[in-house]
Amino acid sequence: MGEMEQLRKEAESLKDQITAARKAVADATLPDTVSSTAVVGRVQLKTRKTLRGHLAKIYAMHWATDAKLCVSASQDGKLIVWDTLTTNKVNAIPLKSSWVMTCAYAPSGNMVACGGLDNMCSIYNLKGKDGNVKVMRELAAHTGYLSCCRFLSDSEIITSSGDCTCLLWDIETGTQKTTFAGHLGDCMSLAVPGDFKTFVSGACDFTAKLWDIRDSNCTHTFSGHESDVNAIAFFPNGNAVITGSDDATCKLFDLRSDQELITYQDSSIMCGVTSIAPSLSGRLILAGYDDFNVNIWDSLKAERVGVLAGHDNRVSCIGVSTDGMACCTGSWDSFLPSFSFKGQDNVMRLCKQNKQQYL
């Protein structure tokens, strides 16, 4: 038996042992444990504000930690910082490349970042001396599109890319510090819990991985999805991860028992999940889908307790503010003009995308 054969056999036997070990700790299922708990009452959220101003598909949005400002990125080549209370645009930042796919707000509120098909993460300083917003750094090293980025602090940022890796950057010097390689497919999104120690990423290899920032190792891999994992977020207690996938389901994975706890699915939902966000307590999970809706799930009972149906196209991004007060969704929306399709002013109205803020 060749060495490769032996190694492969060893790997297989380890996998079997792990499966057995996981089964051993699976002494109860979440549905059983919560069987006596009542389902959360029907959640009805109304649109409180609509943020208009983007001229093309909105691909991403991110709340600032003050729960009032947020940033959104659209393929019209603009990054807009909104004051969500007044719906005013605080900044409208023109981008060099209009193929932007992600954006992020630094926890300090001093910077925003974005990236996309240009394979770079561009960082903008919002608090420049003369009041102008300028590019501070352009982080280029990825060999694939930038799918997601998240600040750890004003000094560090993590990016995920279509080249199957995630990178940790030092913003001051603009250099990459750590590479997190291991995914076998495009990394689609990432989430940081804010403890500076770990982060999770979801990829087109149908898995989600938890990484140790210090030693760049992947400590957990969660499989179970049958298609690309498009969206990922941490459960508020920091011990579990929720994922959304093209297989039309969302899943809750627990870090401490290293396995899937529950799946959020319904036979009437047949389209992919594009984005996901938990409410402050984690009891509600809001997920945006390709069928233009946002479904609200009771995270413990795995039942749908609400629907947000205000968009006319795919919901591309969703975010719950840090104080849990409001949820903002962005989409590939376009207005349908209320009158007939003759006349030049149609061109002005077409493809006006909007973001909606729900409470």
């Binding site: 490769m4 190694l7 060893e10 790997a11 380890l14 792990i18 996981r22 700790v25 002494d27 299922t29 979440l30 059983d32 444990t33 919560v34 959360v40 959220l45 796919m101 098909l117 599109y145 602090s153 000094s155 030092d170 913003i171 001051e172 500076f196 210090r214 400590t219 957990h220 891999t221 508020p236 207690n237 011990n239 627990d254 401490r256 028992s257 290293d258 396995q259 706890l261 402050l280 307590s281 984690g282 009891r283 509600l284 069928d291 809706n293 995270s299 149906a309 006319d312 849990g324 007060m325 376009s334 207005f335 349908l336 399709f341 003759k342 149609n346 077409l350 493809c351 803020q357 409470l359």
Partner: protein, 454 residues
């Protein structure tokens, strides 16, 4: 759905002003059918589902380019299976050019080009300038074929063809259901894609798209398998908590925080988004925390430290016990992680000098093992040099000082909203206030419960 005999929608020919409209069904009929046969209770959901089906082109309104379903007398027609999206069409622009060209050749008012179509045609003429003759010829050929067909049949086929193009070249402002997320475009997701022309045009000059560009996974090397084995070993050795415990802890966590979750329970005094009253935010940001906020500090040390006022009060308490250096150390290390790279080494040294070095002014109590590890780390200072020490100190605070803090008068005073009592009188009034506020919050909960169950 189309089969009339077995309970499908009624498709009929409608007599209109000057002529008959063949093979149509009304919007209301479709909505009714969907609700009955797919057990949908809500009309809105049936309309949503129907609109999605229409947007993909399985049926279409006969007198509009906008592909949605309306619950009224608007007439719809079913698409021919030839044009179904399930055939994985990805029609080229040459086909679209032929189609638009064809339309201009026929003298029928109903086939007149809409503005956006005229614009598209002009654009295509510029793009295909060199082979326009070829396209024109194809269009003429199509027109000849069409003329041979029966008049009624032609009407139906024309409308179906138009609907097909409404899906693949939608009206500006309409949802394009054939749009793909550009992140997924690169990969050959649709191996059954039909590359043939809608009109049977074989054009050698049509650019051949690059062959399947999926990255074929390279064969795993010995190193790959060894890496996998070491990863699997780590997984196996990892201590896993029982699912029952995990499930319980999840339940406990969500239960504890549900009253603080504005999407589940109404915040006091009101949700600023609904009432336009920012009082809630002012309360959260104020240095004088209210009872609601203070209660959260009791959930865990993490929660207490998350609130700036909580940190302040805990620090005050520790100072009274002469152990504030623990928290100050913990805060300094957290801050270290946020420092720019060039400042890290200096900061780390400062922290060492302040808290850990021989004769340090704020010496913290570390076990010998952590001390050893840290003194090694500090030789090459980095963001995580104090990781071990920080974890140790955190555990110490959590198990020791924190529980005492929760029992301390500093905390209890705030929790029960006791004002500094000068006299017995003052204390009684505070107790009354407390019982009243507890009563109020209970009533609040009952009300919310009522609202949710109705």
């Amino acid at each position: 759905m189309q089969d009339e005999k077995t309970g499908g929608v009624p498709i009929r020919t409608v007599k209109s002003f000057l002529s008959k409209i063949p093979s149509v069904v009304s919007g209301t009929d479709i909505v009714q059918w969907l609700m009955k046969n797919l057990c949908i209770d809500d009309t809105a959901e049936a309309i949503h589902l129907g609109s999605l089906i229409a947007a993909h082109g399985y049926f279409f309104p006969i007198s509009d380019h906008v592909l949605t379903l309306k619950d009224d007398g608007t007439f719809y027609r079913f698409q021919s299976p030839y044009f179904w999206p399930s055939n994985c069409w990805e029609p080229e622009n040459t086909d679209y050019a032929i189609y638009l060209c064809k339309r201009t050749m026929q003298n029928k008012a109903r086939l007149e080009l809409a503005d956006y179509e005229a614009e598209n045609l002009a654009r295509l003429q510029r793009a295909f300038a060199r082979k326009w003759e070829f396209i024109f010829m194809q269009a003429e050929a199509q027109v000849k074929i069409d003329r041979k067909k029966d008049k009624v049949e032609r009407k139906i086929l024309d409308s179906q063809e138009r609907a097909f193009w409404d899906v693949h070249r939608p009206v500006p402002g309409c949802v394009n259901t054939t749009e793909m997320d550009i992140r997924k475009c690169r990969r050959e997701r649709n191996p059954h894609r039909v590359r043939k022309s809608v009109y049977g045009v074989t054009d050698e000059t049509q650019a051949q798209n690059p062959a399947n560009t999926t990255q074929t996974a390279r064969k795993p090397t010995r190193e790959d398998v060894q890496k996998e084995i070491s990863f699997l070993n780590t997984q196996l050795d990892r201590h896993c908590i029982k699912m029952s415990k995990v499930a319980d802890s999840l339940m406990g966590y969500t239960e504890q925080f549900m009253e603080y979750d504005p999407l589940v329970s109404s915040p006091e005094p009101s949700n600023p988004w609904i009432s336009d009253d920012a009082t809630y935010w002012d309360l959260e940001a104020s240095k004088d925390p209210n009872q609601h906020r203070v209660k959260k500090w009791g959930f865990s040390l993490d929660e207490a430290l998350r609130d700036p006022a909580g940190r302040e009060q805990f620090l005050k308490f520790l100072e009274s016990e002469f152990s504030s250096e623990n928290l100050r150390f913990w805060l300094a290390v957290q801050d270290l992680k946020r420092q720019p790279l060039q400042d890290v080494a200096t900061r780390a040294q400062e922290i060492w000098q302040e808290f850990l070095a021989e004769g340090a002014p704020s010496s913290i109590n570390l076990d010998s093992h952590s001390y050893e590890v840290t003194s090694q780390n500090i030789k090459d200072p980095g963001r995580f040099s104090f990781e071990d020490a920080q974890e140790h100190i955190f555990k110490l605070m959590k198990s020791d000082s924190y529980s005492r803090f929760l029992r301390s008068s500093i905390y209890q005073d705030l929790l029960l909203a006791r004002k500094k009592p000068e006299s017995e009188q003052g204390r009684r009034t505070s107790l009354e206030k407390f019982t009243r506020s507890v009563g109020k919050s209970l009533t609040g909960k009952r009300l919310t419960g009522l609202m949710q169950s109705s």
